[in-house]
Subunit: 455 residues, 2 copies
């Protein structure tokens, strides 16, 4: 069907989303005889695996992001379009934006996932998750503002709540965040305050199941737990969160309920598919799973629409071992590349065997010199795992944008134990000083009361 | 008087403001037998001379800022207090914050300056100035969003307005901004767009007087103008701005009025003292000049209050040649150090001769390989000036926070001609796509002209 459309105006590929799935699909089509439009809400690709380092003050937003235009400037068949796709029309083969309509022959949807609070959306305000740069900056503000507010607080109980950090969810993000906050509190900031002792900071990592990093082997998960505890993180397994508000996290452990006074709560517990899943379901009748992910065919297309593909965190691909593939960068990358390959084949009237994910391993960073790596055929922990983690991430970053600088930054931070990116900026920069008055933000708003200017 | 207070509780020095003046005063008092409280609204010191590089996407905010706490962590006699000083009480010798009162024996006020729109405050919204990191990020958003909006714009006149950048003010900041935007438009972004040709960008630098960089010699100012024009900047001297609104800048040249359609207007024309000047005037009766700067005595104290000092951009020091010293970093630094020295002397019952500023020269960056340097005894231009500019700035940055990375970043950008820090983030990241509807911000609303989609 797609191949049959091959005519004078070149085959139009529309890719929605410039994350790993969408970007690698575009890159793999660079030399194909197609016209590509890559649509994203943002003007940059984000290297999400390092987002926690922005959140904890080691890296700057620009260190882990690259302008989509410059990443694709050499792909002369590719146009980057900034905008938000609100709808698709599979009959007319169009995606619909706020202000325009873009026709496609092949559509690749790669809009990823966002947090899920399991229906408790009111927790969001008190426990931000870590998916976007704005999230990372928000978390950075909260962490550093908590130390600042503690320095000013004279009531010992309130001070204790300000120095208590709760991380909900013991997957890689939760592990990486808690490890980084521990290094911050117990090493980086040790000398910086006069009225508080940052070694009194408490960092709690909560996990619903019976061990952290459940995607890793039991051995590695145990070793990660031991390393985190050595850093000072308190791990609570078999622990469910039943409520979060401005000051108190309520936990359930077995039949027992427990309250923890904590001013900073971070959410690393669950994700759900982006809203494009719902749009696709409504417009094409495709099925979604409970997390909102689109159930895809063995070739990553959707049922009844061979020219619409879903890749990355938005896709539920369960044809390999019955389980959906995990929402990680390598899956998205391989899926994007597979679809690009399939499009090329189809243009020549050929096809490809079903998609098959090659798992190169699981990685999680714990702290300076500490990580866990599960490659299937070999497991690593401690310093060697940390070096491996560093190597892999630098390799991927460099592939993108030759971000050698990030490597140098890490090297520098490693030597100096510094964290330079600790700025608290924006209108909220003094918010911690006045937690209680939620007055108006109007600063620039009304243009009504402007005076006519005499010439 | 101060020396007489030397008693058991150590002499309390309160410094308001962590810019060049305040920070260097604190550093110079590191080993003195005093207790210092440095109060700032922000948790970082900002290296303002490089702010334009954040605004034009070369550097990240964290590259030119350092946490005040870590800069002063080794100064055990110094406490950093985050907060805003609202008032002072010279009788009780106290500064008054939102939530607390801090007593002083010696007070050093170094709160700097902000933009001045010469009474036309409504221009601020259309023509942001460059004083804070938020300003720089706002300007960065405007510049990159203008190119993005131009790429989407089909009306040639509107597109031309989107590709027109007007910089008001031909001092160092205006020169640096216009040079950097020229490099961006004509070099960095050249390959990145598909529907616009960025070489059609117009960059206008407006100057009220008859030459740019009036603080430099006529030769250097002429050479700077030639270099800017070679880069593609259009310089208009003897030009006054009479109005700025969302789309149009109105100019007066001689007796002629002229309108320029421009979506991006940047303000680099004037500054006024921060509000602490007014507070000091009200509480102590000290005189301020027309720009709101506090008239200081030869020792930088204020009349009738030998233990209150004003340094940096907030001070009007005219005892050297009748003219107030310029509002630049070296003046603030030397003033801060002088006052620290004087406090040390007074504690021993001694004093110092009047403050005397040593001018090491004027510098302005024009673009890659181009700068102008006026050292008094020698002038430089072109590549040698550029190298000198680089050396001086790196020297100062390193003195602060060993920010070697910034040097490497420059080197890297120099080789690759890249600008990595081009992110458009925050709630406004898609604002450029809907320039014309100013009321609603909701992404999902404007469904008017869309066809109903059949399922």
């Amino acid at each position: 069907m797609v191949a049959a459309r091959k005519k004078n105006p070149p085959h139009q590929v529309v890719i929605v989303g410039g994350g790993f799935g969408g970007l690698y699909a575009a890159k793999a089509l660079k030399t194909a005889n197609v016209k590509i439009t890559l649509i994203d809400k943002r003007n940059f690709h984000l290297f999400q695996p390092l987002l926690y380092q922005v959140a904890t003050g080691t890296l700057s937003p620009a260190d882990i992001s690259s302008p989509l235009r410059s990443l694709l400037s050499k792909s002369k068949n590719t146009k980057v379009l900034l905008g938000e796709v609100n709808d698709i029309d599979p009959e007319a083969q169009q995606v619909i934006l706020d202000d325009q309509v873009v026709p496609y022959d092949t559509l690749i949807v790669a809009t990823g996932a966002k947090h899920s609070y399991f229906g408790k959306d009111n927790w969001k305000e008190f426990a931000p998750g870590l998916k976007t740069l704005e999230d990372a900056i928000e978390i950075r503000h909260r962490i550093f503002s908590a130390f600042e507010a503690a320095e000013k607080e004279t009531d010992p109980e309130k001070r204790r709540a300000l120095l208590t950090f709760v991380i909900v969810g013991g997957g890689p993000t939760g592990v990486e965040l808690s490890g980084a906050i521990a290094e911050l509190a117990y090493k980086t900031l040790k000398e910086d305050f006069r009225d508080i002792d940052t070694s009194e900071t408490r960092i709690l990592l909560l996990q619903g199941g019976d061990r952290i990093l459940p995607a890793f082997t039991a051995d590695l998960s145990q070793s990660a737990a031991a390393s985190l505890e050595k850093l000072g993180v308190i791990i609570q397994t078999n622990t469910r969160v039943t409520n979060i508000d401005n000051d108190i996290v309520t936990l359930k452990q077995g039949d027992e309920f427990k309250e923890i006074a904590a001013k900073t709560v971070l959410w690393a517990a669950g994700v759900q598919a982006s809203t494009m899943g719902k749009v696709l379901a409504e417009r094409t009748g495709v099925e979604c799973d409970r997390a909102g992910r689109v159930i895809v065919e063995p070739d990553l297309s959707i049922k009844g629409h061979k020219n619409i593909f879903v890749v990355g965190d938005l896709a539920n691909f369960s044809h390999q071992n019955g389980q959906p593939l995990p929402g990680v960068a390598p899956v998205a990358k391989q899926e994007g590349e597979y679809v690009a390959q399939l499009v090329r084949k189809r243009l020549r009237g050929q096809t490809l065997p079903a998609f098959n994910y090659t798992n190169h391993g699981n990685l999680a960073m714990i702290g300076q010199n500490e990580a866990v790596v599960d490659l299937g055929f070999i497991n690593m922990e401690g310093f060697s795992a940390w070096l491996f983690w560093l190597f892999i991430h630098i390799y991927f970053l460099i592939e993108f944008d030759q971000k050698l600088l990030v490597m140098i930054q890490w090297g520098w931070n490693y030597i100096t134990r510094k964290r330079g990116a600790r700025l608290i900026i924006g209108e909220e920069s003094l918010a911690f000083a006045k937690v209680d008055n939620s007055n108006d933000k109007s600063h620039y708003t009304s243009t009504n009361n402007r005076q006519p200017v005499k010439v």
